[in-house]
């Protein structure tokens, strides 16, 4: 498509092209409006591979499988014995990374569950620490690139 031996010539031509094509006042306006607008350098980021990575492949069990019979306390997300007052059991299946991301970032509730359940489970998720089951997924959904 382009001649690799002449990148400079190509590039120079490319730079001059918009200047000669556009009337001066339009270019002046662009400079003005640019001050108000968003980014002027927009970079292509990895596409759906990354979305697929977070959405399809990662999930957070609540609670972790070693504590699967425990319930989660409403006030702080701590694990407590089954049937403890002011606590609820976890969801029947692990929460999808994509749902966790949306819930933490935009306040959405987990599909099929109430906002009270969502709030309590998110407290548990926010308490996850290095090495805990689900932590890697939690970290990846917090990564703004996802």
């Amino acid at each position: 498509m382009r001649n690799e031996d002449q990148p400079d010539i190509e590039a120079d031509k490319a730079i001059d092209l918009p200047a000669s094509e556009q009337p001066d006042n339009l270019r002046r306006n662009m400079l003005r409006f640019a001050a108000l607008g968003g980014a002027a350098v927009v970079t292509v980021r990895p596409g759906i591979a990354q979305a697929a990575a977070s959405a399809m492949k990662c999930s957070i069990p609540v609670p972790d499988s070693a504590n699967s019979t425990k319930w989660i306390r409403n006030s702080d997300g701590a694990l407590v014995a089954k049937n403890t007052a002011k606590s609820i059991p976890g969801p029947s299946s692990p929460l999808a990374g994509e749902d966790v991301k949306n819930s933490l970032r935009y306040g959405t509730t987990y599909p099929g569950y109430t906002s009270a359940q969502t709030t309590t489970w998110n407290k548990y998720i926010n308490n996850l620490t290095v090495g805990k089951q689900g932590y890697t997924c939690f970290a990846s959904v917090q990564n703004p690139a996802n």
Binding site: E10, A14, Q22, L31, R32, A35, A40, V41
Partner: protein, 93 residues
Amino acid sequence: MSAPIYRTDYPADCLTHPLDGLMLVYHRPSGATHFLIDPTSDMLAILAEAPCDADMLARRLCHRIGTELDDEALEVTAQRLEELLDSGLIRAA
């Protein structure tokens, strides 16, 4: 500290392609593709001719596109410089 001088490898390390009034750039050292919206490609072209500091860049940019140098032009230039620095297309030296 004196004002930093900005320089660029553009367009030598880049493939460029104008598209709909934007400049599409493939930057070889980073492997990144950038859409450049005016006046950033002009700023790169100016720095490619000769590195300079932010004030001089604003002055040369206004001269290039035939407009007055004022506070707004300085502000736009400073803002776009930040973006270009983040992208790695220019560096402070």
